[in-house]
């Protein structure tokens, strides 16, 4: 009768990228480049603009709270700090301090003049010393959020100890940078931004996302203009508070084909209204991603404090300009199975090349560097990380989303603060973002807000070295390849599959060939996968095998301790046919060659072997 509350399905994803990434390795995605054109400047400019009203008030509280010693020697202290960070990374020391951090928003975007000069991009510089003061290195236990609040079962055991670096907010107003902002609203136009929330078209969208404050103020709507949905948000707020008053909390409403899913995160209420067949859990996971996206701009500390001070605060003032990222995320979550799977995709390339790239990245032995990664088309080429600090797929998705959500990164070196909530939801990291070729983006993430120039120099070194050994060209070529087709895999009857390695938290999937190159058919297939995924990851009653026959497909879901497989066959395939043990493939031998231990399990031996082989080939063979 009584069953364990913790789903076993939650844990498996955790040992995140441990193996692949411990030296420098890679990961993946095959997704159409999304993202409407937009200007990230708006984001930051809005932040700055908002400062006089909100930040200042924050300053007051923070400075009193921390009796900030407001040391001006920021450079020095940063160094000290990074030493500390290094220690941490080596796992030798652990600060016992548990102070509350503070945060800041530092942003710097330097026009490409340093490397390529004449691209006159609307750029601005953040004055340095914008923030100075006392900083601390903090260990914080991860917030213990109810399991349902976690993203897609992606609790990373590694992240259970997180460190953060934080800076007390300066109270020196004189340091507030003056930022010229041009073209404030240039560029980004929301696809459905002008729809009337009262109209049929608006309500017909298959999946709405709303974010509102606990006071009922609209913050974000996926479609239409959020300022016009305050009627709805008022109702949502009323319903939520009805249950809050009863010391309960609302989770889901079912009405016909529609689901209303609620995620209540302190001062923020997130609501999905969907008539996709996504389950309550899946929708709540998506709301978590959206919430994390907001944290990545604000951090939980800042978010909490803002609403502590003014419950009625209009968060749009601070989030202005980040809509494109939320929009992009909302779209990606429907199109990219990586979100559902809590894993990412890697660019397929041969191992030598990947190793070479990894080695070159490793030459940037900057103490200021936390993570270094190369990304192409939403897929990972390689990632360098400290041994102790794996990067959670949810955080990685945020990074991808950031890079993807704005075209600006393509034309300039950028320096942007980002909070990676799974890493530490209380403080910012700082990301140096730069496209080194048309498709390939280099990201260098530092805990130190003042390392733009150092990392920019590091980039130059990396590009130089990559060029010398011809790797740059090779990467660009690989990044333009379209992946492999199901025909390449050559398993009879198999139409499409997603294979996820639980150990590596990565998945691979062939390109969508007919009939799935049709967006409608593709969505249909996703729908079937989603259903299987949901059933198999049921919190209380997870499944090992889920197999069903629909008029157009036969879907197999299969989870073992090492992998998850979602495969689509034709509707008429027989189960025994799938099971044929293959003879022509000297497969077991071949697999052991790759150092794999396969769980020997009855159904679907043959296609599975082929899929797994293919998966590993995508790493080891060109």
């Amino acid at each position: 009768m009584f069953s364990s509350p913790k789903s076993p399905a939650l844990s498996p994803m955790s040992p995140i990228m441990e193996d692949l990434f411990s030296d420098s390795n890679s990961i993946l995605t095959s997704d159409e480049p999304l993202s409407p054109a937009l200007q990230p400047q708006r984001k930051y400019s809005a932040l700055y603009k908002a400062k006089p009203t909100t930040q200042l008030s924050l300053d007051v509280s923070s400075s009193t709270a921390y009796s900030s010693s407001s040391a001006d020697s920021s450079v020095k202290s940063f160094n000290a700090n990074s030493n500390k960070l290094d220690d941490n990374i080596n796992g030798e020391t652990r600060s016992k301090e548990n102070s509350v951090d503070d945060l800041l928003i530092g942003f710097m975007n330097r026009s490409n003049s340093a490397t390529s000069n004449d691209k006159c991009f609307p750029a601005f510089r953040s004055g340095k010393g914008f923030i100075n003061g006392q900083k601390r290195t903090i260990y914080s236990e991860p917030e213990n959020i109810g399991s349902e609040c976690e993203v897609a079962g992606s609790i990373d055991s590694d992240s259970s100890i997180e460190w953060i670096e934080s800076h007390a907010m300066s109270n020196g107003h004189s340091n507030i940078p003056v930022i010229p902002v041009e073209e404030e609203y240039s560029g980004y136009r929301r696809k459905y931004g002008h729809e009337d929330p009262q109209s049929i078209n608006w309500s017909r969208h298959r999946k709405h996302f709303f974010i509102l404050s606990s006071a009922g103020k609209p913050i974000y709507t996926r479609y239409g203009d959020e300022s016009r949905i305050s009627g709805y948000t008022g109702v949502i707020q009323a319903i939520v508070s009805f249950f809050v008053d009863a010391e309960d909390s609302i989770r889901c409403i079912n009405a016909g084909n529609h689901k209303f899913v609620f995620l209540l995160k302190g001062p923020l209420y997130l609501v999905a209204v969907s008539r996709t067949n996504e389950s309550e859990t899946q929708l709540r996971d998506q709301l978590s991603y959206l919430y994390n996206q907001i944290l990545s701009v604000l951090t939980s500390t800042q978010l909490t404090r803002i609403f502590e001070q003014r419950i009625n605060f209009d968060l749009r003032l601070l989030l202005g300009g980040t809509e494109p990222f939320l929009d992009n995320l909302a779209t990606s979550m429907s199109d990219d199975p990586g979100f559902m799977l809590g894993s990412i995709q890697c660019v397929r390339m041969n191992k030598e090349l990947r190793d070479k790239i990894g080695n070159i990245l490793q030459t940037v032995k900057s103490k200021d560097l936390l993570y270094a990664m190369l990304i192409a088309n939403n897929q990972l080429i390689t990632l360098l990380r400290p041994k102790k600090h794996s990067l959670h797929p949810a955080d990685l998705h945020l990074v991808f989303n950031m890079v993807n959500g704005s075209s600006t990164f393509r034309s300039a070196e950028s320096w942007t603060p980002i909070c990676l909530p799974k890493f530490n939801n209380k403080g910012f990291l700082h990301a140096y973002v730069c496209y080194i070729t048309g498709n390939v983006c280099l990201l260098l993430i530092s805990p130190d807000k003042d390392k733009f120039f150092e990392l920019s120099d590091a980039k130059s070194t990396i590009v130089e070295q990559l060029t010398i050994c011809n790797a740059l060209q090779a990467i660009e070529e690989v990044s333009q390849s379209e992946g492999y087709s199901i025909a390449d895999v050559g398993a009879a009857g198999l139409r499409h599959f997603i294979y996820k390695s639980r150990k590596h938290v990565q998945y691979t999937s062939p390109t969508f060939m007919a009939p799935y190159n049709d967006p409608h058919e593709k969505q249909k297939l996703f729908k079937l996968y989603r259903y299987t995924h949901d059933r198999m990851h049921s919190r209380i009653r997870p499944l090992k095998v889920h197999y069903y026959v629909s008029p157009s497909e036969t879907i197999l879901g299969w989870i073992t301790s090492t992998f998850e497989l979602y495969a689509a066959f034709g509707p008429l395939i027989s189960k025994s046919g799938l099971e044929l043990m293959n003879k022509e493939y000297k497969s077991w031998k071949e697999l052991s060659f790759y150092g794999l231990e396969l769980e020997i399990f009855h159904p679907f031996k043959r296609p599975l072997l082929i899929i797994i082989l293919y998966y590993y080939r995508s790493y080891y063979l060109p």
């Binding site: 609302i250 095998v545 159904p603």
Partner: protein
């Protein structure tokens, strides 16, 4: 029924928080909101304003979304809010007639654990078991509640129009007051969610003999428009098709609980035959209670559901309708064979009808039922089983009958006498009629009892296949609502299956079956689903043209292909030919 063990784990089952029937179109928005509530009952006494608030929320969810935020209605114009999941509760809504809402709130079951944190301080965690309460089951309860109410009381709107709101309130109170608190939310059984009728298949010769008997009765008593024949707890003949199949189910279920009660009673009588007459008389009284008695509907109630853990021996576990349980192991032989029949002076053979054939006419309280008209004439209407059947309250849709039931041994005959023909309506009030009818039936039914008994023995033998030993299954036909199940050992043919020591349905399996069922309902295009649980049993759902088969295959080592073979063997039996199922 809190169960706790030494590890400080407390297991609390789900329970009813409140149940209400309301109509938002009654009463104003302001002070008279209470008028909207037609019936309200709850675990704890609550003041009126709380009731109004709860009903208000229910409407709020519905109305607020639709007024202030039209998208709720725009999104799903036909389906209003069906259920709300919260951390601790489940709310469900059902609108059986326009503007009339049945609304229930259930407190979720939970597991409370006291563990020690790192510093050794005791820490209490409560895990609410949302996924152990299936929406489909709750929905079925509400539907069933309404279905049964409607059969014996008529539609809400009809009552309001003919007798006024006050009468409706009284009827609701009388009908639901005790019953709803007996609903059992803890036990998940697919048999309840699927909710079909047990049929007894007949051999061709038996069928023609039954038919001629029925024709004979109906020609001798022309005002009887329709009949059911029930053997033990199984339906043998379900009328000429004029009665919609969901009404057939309701009446059958109702009768079956009466039959069980009567059998129980007969045994008691037998045991205490020599005791005083006075005692008997008092027990008889319990039979004369009116239809609304709460004891009739043992279906979802916990009182008749043995509270045993699913892992105990099958003899203790629940049967399809637990109240049949005592019938089989103990008293079957004497009840089955006409030759051993012992005439027991006592209540008359009329299950529904006068208890004392020599009493005054005033004692007769004929049972009235309100049935829907079967629009499609003689053929059995396809009932959209799990989907909302909006009950039309158009008066012309209602057919009123008097119901008379006669029981002799394992045979029960049910007669439908329409209200309008004067002859029938008059006779039904006269004791003379019952006396002659009794004589008529007792002489005529001997033969039928013999036929059915033979038929029963035969099918029992036929039904014993290997399948019953190796698997547990449930077969359901949406057209006829026929159900055949071996999920719970007593259920399929009312007798203990020989291999009862075999597989027992664990609660995990029971939940998995319900989920599978919900999936098949949600995705009508899927024809088969195979699942293998993390504890390695297989559950398969397969359907074809309105027939659905659910099978539990408890083979840990079986591969998908092997399971498929098994399933194919079973389906060959049940999906084949003109099997009644």
């Amino acid at each position: 029924m809190d169960t706790s063990n030494s590890h400080g784990i407390v297991n609390v089952p789900p329970s009813l928080s409140y149940f209400c029937v309301y109509n938002p179109s009654l009463g104003g928005i302001d002070d008279s909101q209470g008028d909207q509530i037609l019936y309200y009952t709850s675990k704890r006494t609550v003041p009126m304003d709380v009731k109004i608030r709860q009903v208000g929320l229910a409407q709020g969810l519905y109305e607020l979304f639709s007024i202030a935020a039209p998208y709720c209605r725009v999104f799903s114009p036909t389906k209003p809010c069906e259920n709300v999941h919260t951390q601790k509760n489940r709310l469900a809504f059902y609108e059986p007639e326009p503007d009339y809402w049945i609304h229930i709130s259930i407190e979720l079951g939970y597991v409370k654990k006291v563990t020690k944190d790192k510093e050794g301080k005791p820490k209490t965690t409560i895990d609410y078991l949302d996924s152990n309460l299936h929406d489909s089951g709750v929905k079925r309860m509400l539907e069933l509640g309404y279905e049964m109410y409607r059969i014996f009381n008529g539609p809400f709107e009809y009552t309001v129009r003919t007798a006024g709101i006050k009468t409706l309130k009284n009827k609701l109170e009388e009908f639901f007051a005790n019953w709803v608190f007996e609903w059992d939310f803890e036990k998940t059984e697919l048999t309840k969610t699927v909710d079909g009728i047990l049929y007894m298949p007949l051999s061709d010769s038996a069928e023609s003999q039954i038919m001629s008997f029925i024709n004979q009765v109906q020609s001798d008593y022309e005002f009887i428009s329709d009949m059911f024949v029930i053997w033990q707890n199984k339906l043998v003949y379900r009328g000429n098709g004029a009665i919609p199949v969901n009404n057939v189910r309701g009446i059958w279920r109702h009768l079956v609980s009466y039959i069980a009660e009567r059998d129980e009673h007969d045994r008691e009588i037998e045991n205490s035959r020599k005791s005083k007459e006075a005692e008997k008389a008092s027990t008889f009284m319990s039979f004369t209670r009116n239809i609304s008695g709460s004891n009739l509907f043992s279906y979802f109630s916990s009182s008749t559901t043995p509270k045993v853990s699913p892992s105990t021996s099958p003899t203790n576990s629940t049967s399809y309708n637990p109240s049949f349980q005592p019938l089989e192991p103990n008293g079957s032989s004497s009840l089955l064979s006409p030759s051993t029949q012992i005439f027991i002076p006592g209540p008359s053979n009329f299950l529904l009808g006068p208890t004392n054939l020599h009493g005054p006419d005033e004692d007769i309280q004929p049972v009235k039922v309100y049935l829907s008209k079967n629009s499609s004439g003689s053929s059995i209407r396809t009932v959209n089983h799990q989907h909302d059947v909006k009950h039309d309250v158009d008066e012309s849709d209602i057919e009123e009958y008097y119901l008379v039931a006669y029981k002799q041994n394992a045979l029960t005959l049910v007669f439908f006498i329409p209200l309008n023909p004067l002859e029938g309506s008059a006779k039904i009030q006269e004791m003379v009629f019952y006396r002659s009818f009794h004589n008529y039936l007792s002489s005529q039914s001997e033969e039928i009892i013999k036929i059915l008994n033979e038929n029963h023995e035969k099918t029992k033998k036929l039904g014993r296949t290997d399948i019953d030993k190796e698997y547990r299954y449930l077969f359901f036909n949406k057209m006829t609502l026929a159900v055949k199940s071996s999920l719970y050992p007593f259920s399929s043919n009312g007798s203990l299956i020989s291999s009862s020591k075999g597989l027992t349905i664990t609660s995990e399996m029971a939940h998995a079956l319900c989920e599978l069922h919900e999936d098949l309902e949600r995705y009508p295009q899927l024809t088969e689903i195979y699942t293998r649980s993390s504890t390695n049993f297989w559950i398969v759902g397969k359907r074809s043209e309105g027939r659905v088969l659910y099978i539990v295959v408890p083979k840990k080592e079986a591969s998908l292909a092997e399971v498929e073979d098994d399933v194919r063997r079973i389906t060959a039996i049940y999906f084949s030919g003109n099997n009644i199922f």
